[in-house]
Amino acid sequence: MINDRSSLTIRGIGAAPGIAIGKAFLLERGQIPVPRYRLFGEQSVAEECKRFEAAVKEAEADLETIKKSIRSEFSDHARLLEVQQMILRDPSIYDESLRYIREERTNAQLAVIKALRKAKELFSGLSNDEYAKSRIADVDAVGDRVVRILAGQSRSDLDHLREGAVIIAHDLSPADAIQLQAGRTLGIVTEIGGSFSHTSIVARSLGIPAVTGAEHAARLIAENDFIIVDGRTGVIIINPGETELEFYANRQDEIQTYLKQISRHSHLPAQTSDGHRVGAEANIEAIEEIVAAKDNGAEGIGLYRTEFFFMNRVELPDEESLYRDYHDLAELMAPSPVTIRTLDLGADKLTSWCPTLEEPNPALGLRSIRLCLHYKEIFKTQLRAMLRASAVAGNIRLMLPLISGMGEIFEARKIFREIQAELTKKRIPFDKNMPFGAMIELPSAVAMADLIAQEVDFFSIGTNDLIQYSIGIDRSNEHVAYLYEPLHPGVLRFIKQTVDAAHDAGIPVAVCGEMAGEPLYVPILLGLKINSFSMNPVALPRVKNLIRRSSMKECCRFVEKVLRMRTASEIEEAVSKMVMKKFPEEFHVFDPNWIGNTPLAAKKKSGS
């Protein structure tokens, strides 16, 4: 029941967990009205020049202040602000603006805008679109700053955010994102972007709750509106009623207290109360996330997504740049292991290099390992880079995604051996024992798990895909999304089958899908005898805490019982009961209404 009539709930993608409650701060771009007038007399020209110079000085000082407040791990970003400072003084902007004022007698704002327009033309002819776009964004950010100062209106700038607020924007530019400060930014809502966008990555690493892809948020939310953002479920409540407010405020408080408490122990090993040791590793997609992974107690990287490097670029990355990336990663994590997943992209994302395919169903199309075996050069380049980087510390593990059967293993293995031979011949060092693993995410791979296990060194279960492919649903399809049930008995049996096959062959099994990062599934996965959990870094403290508080014996008994159940809802209920009894504080703090995977807000909405 919603008491307050003006309360409105919208939904986006939960991009960084946590709850933010506060006033909305709308970050607008390019909305400042620009007056245009002609200057009369030398006196007014001289004054306008002075006004312009003062504005540039102020902008420079502002940038300096932001630069100083940036946390040390973002020092690269601080240097980007230096670039902005240089752009301010660049002749094409600074001298040009002054020239417009002096020669054409335009007012300062218009002069800046004209100079900007000309400066941006420099980038318009470039072949690399992404590069051009980000340079234009840099120029715009600088121009915007000066024009706002000239207009005497600088409040929409992030650095002028003095009190804590929830930032609402269509999208955050990288320049905006790096200005985010955990203290002043309570939360973030953007209209576009997914969970892997720049905003999401920065938000997660700073622990700021964020929701991305919230359509029309900037239109529906007004400046200073009181809002609640739940960065886990993606729910945004505008002008919440008292009940909602109380509910979320309590949860926020509880979450913070609880997290503080468990984070103190996140560096301890992931070992159950009865001495069973498992792995707790991090899933990352950019090297910058290593800090967060280590801070949260990761014992290694269980999944490094290599797609980031291949997307949004005109040319394929060359071996050297891949090598540097993997090398740095291996070096920074050593001696802990780093599991690199080979390219897991669909042909639709590779349009710049391979012909566009008519694929009515890309999820079942030419993607992942299939794509790599089809365009062998891409695959070879990646393998070569990985092998070379493995010489640094011998801590790299190779992982093949979307394996459907033995054929792909044999073919990939053959190419792998060829590359090894080639490197040996050239006397390039590499780790001869680099583990070679397969992801289990297709039902056919589960069926073949006993044989695949004979050929590889480890398994990693990608539960997201395994669930979708085995139940046959696309979870982004709202009509069938309700069928996305991680606790479906069929899914649990598949996991068990995979683990049994692996253990019979003497190899370990990890889970690197979202299931591994969900604390409520800890007892189930432990009981299924998973050897390692790999997840989003921020989930580590909670999952580790639950692992440390679980008894392996109890989990196994519990899973035995669960495996005899017939429906997902039956299992869900048993899991909630079990967790509620064993870990009341965890259950209470994070998901008071967890049953059926429907958060409170959604229930209320559909019930009202």
């Binding site: 690269d76 240097r79 980007l80 230096e82 670039v83 240089m86 752009i87 660049d90 002749p91 094409s92 902007i93 400066a119 420099l122 980038f123 470039l126 072949s127 690399n128 590069y131 051009a132 980000s134 340079r135 840099d138 120029v139 040319e315 060359d318 050297e320 740049s321 540097r324 740095d328």
Partner: protein
């Protein structure tokens, strides 16, 4: 491409953009040297900033050219607009009283890969 041709084309381009180009004349000849961009990220924004900082320390006119496009090495926007990914070949030329020093300072930057991998 011969340097002479390059300079001519560069002039055409530079004129359009209102940037002064570097011409050899009898009093002070322009010095030109070729470099390869050897850091893996290429000349991105932060590297461009380094180039501008170094070039601005000298009185000499300094210019960077890639194929038929030239840029004033003292303007960050100009340098960034060249778009030089890893492996690009560029010509750096300098003219003026301290041209030799300017060129060797920039050469040091290129040769140390801008302090990047």
């Amino acid at each position: 491409m011969p340097v002479a041709n390059m300079l001519i084309e560069r002039r055409t381009f530079a004129k359009e953009r209102g940037t002064d180009l570097i011409q050899s004349d009898e009093e002070s000849p322009a010095l030109t040297q070729e470099f390869m961009v050897a850091n893996r990220m290429g000349i991105h924004a932060r590297v461009a900033a380094q180039i501008v900082k170094v070039a601005s320390r000298f009185n000499a006119e300094v210019c960077i050219a890639k194929s038929d496009v030239a840029a004033n090495a003292k303007s960050i926007l100009d340098v960034m607009s060249l778009f030089c990914p890893y492996g690009s070949k560029v010509f750096v030329s300098a003219r003026g009283p301290d041209a030799t020093e300017a060129l060797s300072a920039l050469a040091a930057l290129f040769q140390t890969k801008f302090g990047e991998p």
